[in-house]
């Protein structure tokens, strides 16, 4: 468990913010550092700091919760309030007198009902189930005894429902630590351990039919660790049914449940790609370089995370992608990596560009026609997370651990996708959003791209290679892997020879935009053979992909061909491990495929028949 030491600095800063009345940023930061792994003293501090913030300063939805406990919750309530606020709710809480379960529920004009709660939480524990089974009792009698205990709870639920319309939450039994028969209890139906297990199952079989929602106290106690959860001194001296240190865990879970009951559970995940769905950066490391798949520790961790996400998707959670990448790069692993668990069709909206993520998330929400408050953002980069937290406070942001092996549990324990019901409709709803979004995307995508490109104010400078850019041109040819059709490797000296050779046309292209000068971004080497122009080399920097440069350069090549009286352009694509990106480039530019052998394709473009391709919004300056 993490103690005060780990939090003092951050808590002091938050306290400072509150003193200066910067309530919203203080609260955002408090929610960021809050973790169920912090001990009671820290949770108590979270609660106190939250309590010192005037709730009007935060945009929280009011909720009234009535709690009927069989253990003392005095030190827990403040912590529950904080986690409810973190879930977007400001709670008025009524707590019934300790150990008055029946009296409270069976008094129709009693304080529980006059409080008019929206949620009633029966905060019971294993001690409330009578388990007086003698050794060797037969299965029938055990079943009868269990049913009798379940019936006692059903009676309480019926009484509650006769008196109000509140949503009922019922704890199941947290199995105790001590076992009279030791390990043997696992093998016998009449042991207390198994009696309580069967009781929990019997409760599960009937609760939903009674419109009652179980809080899985057994799971929480196991998750926390029963050896700590059951604290006998604190039970005997002050009737704490669970150790105070578990307060954060229980509070977060209950808050998530309440959130779901109010229709406020999350619907959609926004996922980063690099170092979130795979290790490494696809644009730099390429398909071969990213970590994903069997045999490598990090690769397996990412695969497990994808597998978890896939299951969420199957459940009806909408998956979307928001990545800072060239879209074509971002899609490569989805399309071509053999160990990729998630496929493109699992992703309802796929956004990969260089815009800031807050704007992109707004767009995704728009496209899906869901509120920002339905979204959960997952990104390994703390800076991106902080940007989204600050600009879109209604979007939940998971505080991701640095080790990808811990991604699954971090997301799982966040409690953002709780639900009180599930139907095939829910499953299908996810698909429906997806299809809707895809429709919208094809409509919107085009205008978006050209808006973006127009916004860039691009200017291309180009011409024949000369002495001053020869070095840079050679460098580009030597180091490019992705956008390189023939993977030629020419030194400066070799380039110089070509530049002075009449048969060669050596062209360079530079691109500037609003954000800066990209410098020399592409080199094309054409060789004339009779009335045909061969594309010996075409390299381009990946930084300027899909901005219209491909079309622009293509048009220039046609111009060169015409100037020399050539009737065709011949292109060759030689496949390597890294240049799959351009496998279909010639097709895209309306070349005809002449022949395709293993790893090589040859293409032809008739100059007569060709028309210049539209190159979006690049102003040109020939030099």
């Amino acid at each position: 468990m993490q103690s005060m030491e780990s939090f003092r600095q951050e808590l002091a800063l938050i306290k400072n913010q509150i003193n200066q009345k910067n309530f919203k940023p203080a609260f955002i930061e408090l929610c960021r550092i809050a973790t169920v792994d912090a001990d009671f003293a820290v949770q108590h501090r979270f609660a106190k700091l939250f309590a010192s913030i005037p709730s009007e300063a935060l945009e929280l939805k009011p909720i009234r919760i009535g709690i009927v406990p069989t253990g003392t919750l005095d030190n827990f309530i403040g912590i529950l309030r904080f986690y409810l606020a973190r879930a977007g709710l400001i709670a008025e809480i009524f707590v019934a007198e300790f150990n008055t379960l029946h009296q409270t529920i069976l008094t129709p004009d009693g304080p529980l009902y006059t409080f008019n709660p929206q949620i009633i939480w029966l905060c019971t524990n294993y001690r409330d189930i009578s388990c007086e089974i003698l050794p060797n009792t037969n299965e029938e009698e055990i079943a009868r005894a269990i049913q009798s205990e379940v019936d006692r709870f059903i009676d309480l639920w019926l009484a509650l429902q006769a008196n109000c319309t509140a949503i009922i939450v019922q704890n199941n039994a947290d199995l105790p630590s001590e076992r009279i028969f030791g390990n043997f209890e696992a093998s016998i139906p009449w042991s207390r351990q198994n009696f309580l297990r069967q009781f929990n199952l019997a409760l599960a079989h009937t609760s939903l039919a009674h419109h009652v929602h179980l809080l899985d106290l057994e799971y929480l106690s196991a998750q926390f660790g029963k050896r700590f959860w059951h604290d006998a001194p604190y039970w005997h001296y002050s009737k704490h049914a669970f150790v105070a240190d578990a307060s954060g865990l229980i509070a977060l879970q209950m808050a998530a449940l309440v959130q779901a009951s109010q229709g406020m559970a999350k619907k959609c995940l926004v996922l980063d790609l690099d170092n979130t769905l795979w290790g490494g950066i696809i644009g730099d490391d390429g398909l071969e370089g990213i970590q994903l798949g069997h045999g490598l520790a990090a690769g397996e961790a990412f695969m497990a995370f994808q597998h978890y996400l896939k299951q969420l998707q199957r459940r009806g959670v909408i998956l979307t992608v928001c990545s800072k990448n060239e879209e074509s790069n971002a899609k490569i692993p989805f399309l071509e990596h053999s160990e990729m668990v998630l496929k493109l069709e699992d992703i309802a909206v796929f956004v990969a560009n260089w815009h800031n993520k807050a704007d992109n998330i707004r767009e995704i929400a728009d496209m899906l026609e869901i509120g920002l408050e339905s979204m959960v953002f997952v990104d390994d980069n703390p800076a991106e997370r902080q940007l989204v937290r600050q600009m879109l406070p209604m979007v939940s942001v998971v505080e991701m651990p640095t080790d990808p092996a811990l991604y699954v549990i971090a997301l799982d324990q966040s409690g953002y996708f709780e639900t009180l019901a599930f139907s095939t409709e829910d499953q299908n709803r996810g698909q429906m959003y997806q299809q809707n979004a895809q429709r919208k995307q094809t409509r919107k995508h085009f205008s978006n791209v050209s808006d973006f490109l127009q916004d860039l104010h691009m200017v291309a400078k180009y011409g024949d290679l000369h002495g001053q850019n020869r070095a840079r041109a050679s460098q580009l040819i030597l180091k490019s892997n992705q956008f390189h059709l023939t993977t030629t490797r020419y030194s400066e000296a070799q380039l110089e020879r070509m530049m002075t050779n009449e048969a060669y046309i050596c062209r360079y292209y530079c691109l500037q935009d609003r954000f800066g000068d990209n410098g020399l971004v592409s080199v094309v080497l054409l060789k004339q053979e009779a009335d045909v122009l061969l594309v010996d080399t075409w390299v381009m920097s990946c930084r300027v992909l899909s901005r219209g440069m491909e079309e622009f350069i293509h048009n220039d090549m046609i111009t060169q061909a015409r100037a020399r009286g050539c009737n065709s352009l011949f292109g060759t694509y030689i496949a390597t491990k890294k240049n799959n990106l351009v496998a279909q480039l010639f097709a895209r530019l309306d070349y005809q495929l002449i022949e395709e052998t293993e790893g090589t394709s040859r293409w032809r473009l008739s100059i007569e028949a060709s028309t210049p391709l539209k190159s979006v919004l690049i102003q040109a300056k020939e030099e």
């Binding site: 005060m4 306290k15 003293a41 108590h44 030190n75 001194p233 001296y237 002050s238």
Partner: protein, 82 residues
């Protein structure tokens, strides 16, 4: 006051400040529940737990309840460490 007591008092003071969310709080040997408004029976338990965490000990809440004041808590803590 000897060195050990002073050190414990400083740490205890910080615990009190954190539990009662008051960075200006200054306790002394005589401080008791009557001196701090929020120090009721519920916060008493929060305080005990926080002290247990800070000094890595288990205290008997009933024992602590019987103590008259902060001085008594320090005695208990010293007793535990000795």
């Amino acid at each position: 006051m000897d060195n050990q007591r002073i050190k414990i008092m400083q740490r205890l003071n910080r615990v009190f400040q954190e539990v009662f969310d008051d960075e200006n709080l200054q306790i002394n040997e005589k401080t008791n529940a009557k001196d701090i408004e929020e120090w009721d029976s519920v916060e008493h338990i929060s305080l005990v737990i926080a002290i247990e965490k800070e000094f890595t000990i288990r205290m008997n809440a009933a024992e602590v309840g019987k103590l008259q004041n902060v001085g008594g808590i320090i005695d208990l803590l010293i007793g535990n460490q000795g």
